[in-house]
Symmetry: C2
Subunit: 255 residues, 2 copies
DNA sequence: CGGGAGGTTGACAATCGTCAATCAGAGTGG
DNA sequence: CCACTCTGATTGACGATTGTCAACCTCCCG
């Protein structure tokens, strides 16, 4: 795989360096190992697939812009979205370690991705333990989010469930620098919200309408979401951000 | 932390070596690093907590026997079980990396655990990349199971959901050498099955009864489960074991 | 201007939850 | 050995959250 050494590409790897640094102290050799990664940038349209079920992973993909969804199809053709990804998220680090994808990842909007060949990623992981630990941390946070989604879908009613998802998206969008916590563009249709919450689009519609009537959210256009009362939404949504592990990393191993 | 060097303890670390070896080729230094880990063995009674929400992790725990459940509590006090663990599973590797636990882990049966202090685990991870990768793999498989649970709870009806969970448990119990795929002791009450599937115990009861009437399962005692027709159960449960990633590891990085 | 995707709404159906009573089995102490 | 107790399983009646179906609307875009 050729190394794309355009200005754009180099700044993208620096983005990866900063991501890794957020969760873990890394040294110059670690930093250089990341900056030396061969890579390409891919821009994908809405609905384009990043990973397809049964694919064998060939690259690790880091989202640079846009939104994507991870989803599974069950018997009967129903779809369940199991994660939403945005700028700064790795979308198939797991597939690149596990081998065959057991689900698909598809763009929710147009966006661009940093692609690093699987073999180079593997080598980075084995050569640079501090980087490996930071990436592992990333997958652990993903796993924590998945567990919260299980609880959300399994044990909360529609109103709470939708409010919770909106809270999560709002917070993550703000953290990614893509909008304000209480005013952002919702990158999903109501059908997609339904597939993420285990509901139907009709019921999501009714639920959103109700939240709007109750003065919790405000929607000028159907897609733009204004959170009229964050406190209230977090309350309705039984939302506690602990599961996002925003301050992770923990102390380095004592030496 | 003192090293417990009883015969029992040593064989437990060998168990960890074998676990790591299953997913990844490791060398003698890796093997020795594992065998040198300080550790203790703890036996816990039914309902005992392995990890409590808000705890700061102090040890990584590997299950040696018995069953446990990972669960979250939502507003209203409802409980959602987000994972079932058994012999060979790590129960708080994630907490040991993430810091504070965002949920609890509790014994479903009496059982024993191998405990390794967090700091030693951290050091192992940084010093032995091949071991770190194997452990990472373990957490990735857990994450994959979580995603399947999201789909199971979000998009399948009660009958399918329960059947799917039974299939997963049957397969994992057989793989752990704790029973046969089509005849094993179910370590969970119907209320626990309900909390794992996002249903109520009453509805789980009706569903199990129906599966029994349909000749899919057979229950001599309420707790012993005989899968009368594995094919049929897997069919009813829309079960495909791919998400368990039973053949993982992938090729080592080309050198 | 036409087509299409997505949003909105109503009527009705059904899966699943709630409540409550009863039953079965295991462990305990007398 | 036998009441006693507790946990968990079972069942019925009823209610409600959520799904289904279908129509219509609105906006965007070519």
């Amino acid at each position: 795989v050729a190394t794309a050494a355009s200005t754009q590409a180099v700044s993208s790897l620096e983005f990866l360096v900063r991501k890794v640094e957020r969760s873990r102290a890394i040294d110059d050799a670690d930093r250089q190992a990341i900056l030396d990664l061969p890579h390409t940038i891919r821009t994908l349209d809405v609905h384009a697939y990043i990973v397809r079920e049964f694919d064998r992973a060939v690259s690790a993909c880091l989202m640079l812009s846009g939104f994507s969804m991870r989803h599974k199809i069950v018997a009967g053709g129903h779809r369940q979205i199991v994660a939403i990804h945005m700028k700064g998220d790795f979308v198939d680090l797991q597939n690149s370690v596990l081998g065959t994808a057991d689900h698909s990842v598809q763009m929710l909007t147009r966006g661009s991705l940093l692609m690093v060949p699987k073999a180079d990623m593997e080598r980075l992981i084995l050569d640079r333990p501090a980087v490996a630990r930071a990436l592992w941390l990333d997958t652990l946070v993903d796993a924590s989010v998945s567990r919260e989604w299980i609880a959300n879908i399994g044990r909360r009613d529609a109103r709470t469930r939708v409010a919770h998802l909106l809270c999560e998206l709002a917070l993550r969008i703000e953290l990614a620098g893509l909008g304000k916590q209480n005013a952002f563009e919702l990158p999903m249709t109501q059908e997609q919200l339904a597939d993420a919450t285990g509901l139907t689009s009709v019921h999501v519609n009714r639920t959103l309408k109700q939240l709007e009537r109750d003065g919790v959210i405000d929607r000028a256009h159907p897609k733009s979401l204004l959170i009229a009362d964050w406190r209230k939404l977090a309350d309705v949504g039984d939302f506690n951000s602990a599961y996002l592990h925003l301050q992770v990393g923990g102390p380095a191993v004592a030496s």
